[in-house]
């Protein structure tokens, strides 16, 4: 039995603004004990998939199972076994203290009082927030609040944890602490599974056993981070900063170029190219100069997951 399984999962939203198909036939099998990453840009369908798996949303078509239970029909069996954290939100009752907030949620999971107290204190130590246990939630920083929410989810000892962009908007140090905690939690327990959605490549690369890349509602690749990178092993990425801003569509027509993204900067354009022949570098440099621009930065880099994504979808993650 898989911890999570979806079969031809579709989800469509209809509203005044029209129809949006968020998931288009998603098939996934996530093994028990895995830290599985779902990687994709905003609007790719990651959160919709998590909402279905956490019983918050019904699929339009297809089936989803968590620990063998159907998310559409057996939500009462799933809920005691799961928990979730979303990033980039300000959830929590501001007038309660951190300890009160956590205690309250422990009661909704039927955890006996003394046991709940012990778990709260253990998590406060592990996540390094013991000093804020008696602070009101409204006074917390974004990072402190997210640590509290991580504790809320892990306090219930779930079999499957859903982390929806858990480090979104956090500073580097807090994000690192959370990643370290998640990895440690999983390695110390058997039979637990974590599904992590993120659009931070390094996070997926650092944490996940396997990664599915999702774009426009479809899974377009699924493998270990290493194997995904091998998909583009002969290739490399070229990073350039040019001034002033110039049109760059011509780069795509160079024979050995397989991916191109650009970003406007204050004074020009940042260009990222996936290619598999070094001769192409000369063509690009020559082309830039012929258009009256100058190159202020040029670097050839190893392939990252972001490059894999760029090659697979033809666009960047952010």
């Amino acid at each position: 039995m898989h911890a999570i399984e979806t079969e031809d999962l579709w989800r469509e939203f209809r509203g005044r603004d029209g129809r949006v198909i968020a998931l288009k036939g998603v098939n996934l099998k996530i093994r028990t004990g895995e830290l599985f990453g779902l990687l994709g840009p905003n609007g790719a369908g990651k959160t919709t998939l998590i909402r279905i798996l956490t019983t918050l949303l019904l699929p339009t078509r297809g089936r989803a199972y968590v620990l063998g239970y159907d998310t559409s029909r057996e939500e009462d069996k799933i809920r005691p076994l799961i928990n979730m954290v979303s990033g980039g939100e300000y959830s929590g009752y501001g007038l309660l203290t951190v300890k009160e907030n956590l205690w309250m949620f422990s009661q909704f999971y039927g955890i006996p009082g003394p046991e709940a107290k012990r778990r709260i204190e253990d998590l406060a130590d592990l996540l390094n927030f013991r000093d804020i246990l008696n602070k009101k939630v409204r006074t917390l920083s974004t990072g402190q609040r997210q640590k509290m929410n991580i504790a809320r989810a892990f306090m219930t000892e779930p079999k499957v944890v859903f982390l929806d962009e858990p480090t979104l908007g956090l500073d580097v140090e807090v994000a690192r602490e959370i990643r370290r905690f998640v990895r440690g939690w999983l390695s110390e327990r058997e039979g637990r599974t974590v599904l992590l959605t993120t659009h931070y490549m390094h996070e997926a690369e650092e944490l996940c056993d396997r990664i599915a890349i999702i774009n426009e509602g479809r899974i377009i690749a699924l493998d270990t981070p290493e194997n995904l990178k091998r998909m583009v092993k002969r290739e490399f990425s070229l990073h350039l900063r040019v001034e002033p801003e110039i049109g760059v569509e011509w780069i795509s027509s160079i024979e050995c170029v397989s991916g191109l993204t650009t970003k406007k900067t204050e004074t020009g354009t940042y260009i990222r190219v996936i290619m598999d022949c070094e001769e192409g570098i000369g063509e690009i440099v020559h082309g830039v100069m012929r258009r009256g621009a100058r190159i202020t930065y040029l670097n050839k880099e190893e392939i990252t997951l972001e490059d894999v994504f760029l090659k697979l979808t033809g666009r960047g993650l952010e």
Partner: protein, 275 residues
């Protein structure tokens, strides 16, 4: 067992949300001031129209009805916001919703605390009535029974309201006021049911609040002056209150299950409208 734990925790949370913004004494003063103010306004209006307040059976009817209507109004109006606030302001609804505790039971707990908190101003108003004076003739066992059933039918009504709110955006307060208004109109709060047009009298007989207010008057004043309601004995009133409350509870569970399914289908359980 878990249901009781959930109710207790939800009641605790509700009290914290209502009262934790200030010191208890200020909170209780605030809690009492508003209903007392509106009751005094009602008495003033009665005085302007009739030219007297002392020794009036109609005023006693109105005063007691109004004091207990404050409970119903406060429960209905404030419950209208629970789903909306949890979902959009505190952003905790989805985390409570996916817990093993029933969300229905959680809302019952929230409603229970609103009911308890609303009892204080009602009893304070009754004390104030001694100054008028209102001729009280208490039947305490009947009053306790009536209050218990009041809690049940108000929880059921609150759940009807909250079930609808699982699908709506910011209409919670308006729906709550509308609910409270319907009870005000049909239940013989400040004017007897017998004054309603005949078709509306029939409608009123399906509301538990009609029997509740009648039992409230009988347990507080010892009499019922409404031409229609005095035809029912206390036992008949108790039976009809139990039956109509049961109907409301069944309706609220059915509506909750329907709305819960629709909310999951439409994706509104964690909707953030920022309205």
């Amino acid at each position: 067992m878990q249901a009781l734990k959930t109710i207790r925790t939800a009641m605790w949370l509700d009290y914290q949300i209502m009262a934790n913004w200030t010191r208890p004494i200020i909170f209780f003063t605030y809690n009492i001031a508003k209903p007392v103010g509106s009751s005094l306004l009602l008495i003033a209006m009665y005085y302007v129209v009739t030219g007297r307040v002392v020794g009036s059976a109609a005023l006693s009817f109105l005063f007691v009805g109004n004091a207990f209507y404050m409970i119903l109004a406060q429960v209905m109006m404030s419950l209208g916001w629970v789903v909306h606030d949890d979902r959009e302001h505190y952003q905790t609804l989805k985390y409570i919703y996916i817990s093993p505790s029933s969300y229905y039971v959680y809302l019952m707990g929230r409603a229970a605390m609103r009911f308890l908190m609303a009892l204080f101003p009602a009893f304070f108003l009754l004390l104030l009535g001694l100054l008028i004076p209102i001729p009280y003739d208490f039947n305490y066992p009947l009053l306790a029974f009536t209050l218990l059933f009041g809690w049940l039918f108000m929880v059921a009504s609150g759940m009807l309201l909250n079930s609808v709110n699982l699908l709506t955006a910011r209409h919670g307060g308006a729906i709550g006021e509308a609910f409270a208004g319907v009870f005000y109109l049909f239940s013989g709060v400040v004017f007897p049911v017998s004054m309603l047009p005949a078709p509306l009298q029939v409608v009123a007989m399906y509301f538990p609040s009609t029997y509740w207010f009648s039992l409230v008057r009988r347990s507080v004043l010892g009499v019922e002056v409404d031409g229609i309601m005095k035809n029912y004995t206390i036992n008949q009133c108790v039976l009809l209150l139990a039956i109509t409350t049961g109907m409301f509870i069944a309706m609220s569970i059915a509506l909750y299950l329907t709305m819960d399914h629709l909310a999951r289908k439409r994706g509104t359980v964690e909707m953030i409208t920022t309205y």
